[in-house]
């Protein structure tokens, strides 16, 4: 609880009543957000075939899902789509973020507004339009789903980059072009080294959002190999067992594992870069 104390210097800015109100409201918010997560963990381990009954802790439901080939496919499909659609969205936004340094302000404003317009369009309407358009143009459902998923991630990736555009020095980019570098080289060797941090945080956010995307998967996908969100939707009103909880926990653990591997990889890269810099310094 000491971690959640207000900085002593801030005591002067916030009166006692304000501090207490903020603390109460924050605890209430956290409880509101985390209660279902906590229950999902309990339900996955102690749940029985009846929704409101808890029993002896066991890993039966996890084993049940992990031994079902269709569920395994769903986990793989969810993670694959999340990895690739988040990558596609971040690549597009990185290209856009690079190009606005050389484009006019009206282009920047118009493009930014049209990206944000995506998030303001009701997802249900977009998904219905995709269903119709994919049918008319004979586009396979999984392709339509991938493109739709990437489209919904664009504003999120854009918001992440916009917040961190201060990391990118326009002068360096323009210097690169003036000195004769092609835009491709400028992008790879000048822009990306400056922008990789916001790129990575946008990617992580896009990955999490894409993993939880449900509207497009519910409306567009019908075959057996569907993402976890579609499979969970099919269980609504049908399954009272803890399978949804077990599926959610398995997916969360898979994401944490991926995140852990990425963090270890980043640490290894940083360590090798530091040791190579030391080597060069000694030489």
């Amino acid at each position: 609880m000491r971690r959640f104390r207000i900085e002593p210097s801030a005591y002067a800015f916030l009166g006692t009543s304000v501090r207490r109100t903020l603390l109460l409201a924050s605890m209430l918010s956290l409880l509101w957000i985390l209660l279902p997560c906590a229950y999902l963990c309990i339900w996955a381990i102690c749940g029985t075939a009846e929704r409101d009954q808890l029993g002896v802790p066991s890993l039966t439901w996890f084993a049940d899902l992990l031994s079902d080939q269709d569920w395994l496919w769903s986990f793989l499909v969810s993670i694959s789509y999340a990895l690739s659609c988040a990558a596609a969205a971040c690549v597009l936004i990185a290209l856009f973020a690079y190009s606005i340094h050389f484009a006019s302000r009206w282009f920047e404003a118009a493009s930014g507004a049209s990206i944000l317009l995506v998030i303001l369009s009701p997802v249900v309407s977009l998904a219905l339009s995709y269903k119709y358009f994919a049918g008319v143009c004979s586009i396979p459902a999984h392709w339509a789903y991938g493109v739709g998923n990437t489209l919904m991630l664009l504003p999120i990736a854009y918001a992440g980059f916009e917040a961190a555009q201060s990391h990118v020095a326009r002068e360096r980019l323009q210097a690169g072009v003036i000195l004769g570098a092609s835009h491709g080289s400028n992008f790879l060797y000048v822009f990306l080294p400056q922008a990789w941090r916001p790129l990575v945080s946008s990617y992580i956010l896009c990955f999490l959002v894409s993993l939880d995307e449900s509207v497009f998967s519910i409306m567009l996908l019908d075959t057996g190999r569907v993402p976890v969100t579609k499979r969970l939707w099919d269980l609504v009103g049908v399954d009272s067992t803890p399978r949804p909880a077990a599926a959610a926990i398995i997916l969360a653990l898979a994401v944490l594992l991926l995140w852990g591997l990425a963090a270890v990889g980043a640490r290894v890269i940083r360590h090798s870069r530091r040791s190579s810099r030391r080597k060069h310094a000694l030489l």
Binding site: E50, V77, K131, D222, D234, V236, G237, S240
Partner: protein, 350 residues
């Protein structure tokens, strides 16, 4: 920086591509069979039809769930991208789908020795084979009414004798009939339905309907967890509870029977295999195996010879139960469903 970034990006794209290629590869010898709502019903399909068929033929059968979303089937057939091979549809959907040309002609059908329809029941057609009769009954929680509970639709509407929250299926089909039965109309005079009268009767009950359920497992869960005192429910889902069946009581008086059909959607890539599967699943022994698991009445009268005596009273097609109930008129619903559904949605929202 560049090589590592490129390697990272290539790894991500590689995983995605490999997954896509694996998903894209041919299905090989595989059939996709679509049944309702998962849970006990899908389990009965798997144990009675799919596993024995796989063992006998070596063809892999994938069991997929749907909630009778007719629109999905329409979209699939019209777009030409039909991943499903065998689908179970309701009688009114069968009539509508046949009219709209959504079904393929089967290449092999059960022969006369294998399949004998029930007296007065529909026969096999090249577009569809009758499968099971399933029933919507009035069920109640004995915890709320230990002595006597609602056993007719008039009792269900009687909030003085049987107070408490109710649950009903979120579909006008069946509910309009129940409302008219509660209002004193006899089963023989139900059709054509007096829609205005039915909605007026439903107005009396609406404030006490706690849940408009959309799938068969819901009313069972609502009754078991005492969240409602009485509900319409699909009889087979109650029978499938096994030992816990006694925690819910139900009555066959005024039960509504509906028939399901096996069809092959037009555009399926495995019409021959699909037809062979349907023929296998229509055999008396297989249909009796399903009846044992889910308590629905096989449309093949031969199957009743293979059903255990203690299961028979639970089946909708048992003579005692059949006499107390009625069959939903699929023809009337095929013609009026779209119009009535809009009134239903508006009425619920008022």
């Amino acid at each position: 920086m560049k090589p590592r970034l490129l390697v990272g990006l290539l790894l991500i794209l590689g995983v995605a591509l490999a997954t896509w290629l694996y998903l894209k590869r041919g299905r090989g010898r595989e059939l996709i069979v679509v049944s309702y709502g998962g849970g006990a019903y899908q389990a009965s399909h798997k144990r009675a039809f799919i596993e024995p068929y796989q063992a006998q033929t070596g063809i892999r059968v994938q069991s997929v769930v749907w909630g009778a979303e007719f629109g999905k089937l329409q979209e699939m057939v019209r777009s030409g991208a039909v991943p499903w091979d065998v689908v179970e549809v309701t009688a009114s959907q069968f009539l509508r789908g046949s009219r709209e040309g959504l079904f393929a002609q089967m290449t092999t059908l059960p022969d006369a020795e294998e399949f004998k329809p029930l007296p007065g029941g529909p026969t096999i057609s090249p577009l569809g084979v009758p499968n099971v009769y399933w029933s919507t009954v009035v069920a109640f929680d004995p915890h709320a009414f230990p002595q006597v509970g609602p056993s007719t639709w008039q009792d269900f509407w009687d909030l003085t004798r049987f107070p408490g929250p109710r649950a009903l299926y979120d579909n006008p089909r069946g509910n309009l009939e129940f409302a008219l039965l509660a209002d004193g109309v006899s089963p023989a005079n139900l059709y054509p339905l007096d829609v205005t009268r039915a909605f007026r009767k439903l107005d009396e009950l609406k404030p006490h309907v706690r849940v408009w359920w959309s799938d068969g497992t819901e009313p069972v869960q609502l009754l078991l967890s005492h969240q409602v005192v009485s509900s319409s429910a699909w009889s087979g889902r109650i029978v499938a509870l096994g030992e816990r069946e006694k925690e819910i009581r139900y009555s066959w008086k005024g039960a509504a029977h509906e028939l399901d059909y096996w069809i092959v959607p037009r555009g399926s890539k495995s019409i021959d295999s699909a037809s062979a599967f349907i023929r296998f699943a229509s055999r008396p022994e297989e249909m009796a195996a399903q009846a044992r698991l889910i308590g629905y009445g096989p449309a093949n009268s031969q199957a009743l010879n293979y059903v255990d005596a203690k299961i028979l009273p639970h089946l909708p097609t048992a003579p005692a139960n059949w006499a107390l109930s009625f069959v939903i008129n699929a023809t009337w619903w095929a013609e009026h469903e779209q119009e009535v559904e809009a009134f239903w949605v508006r009425w619920k929202g008022q």
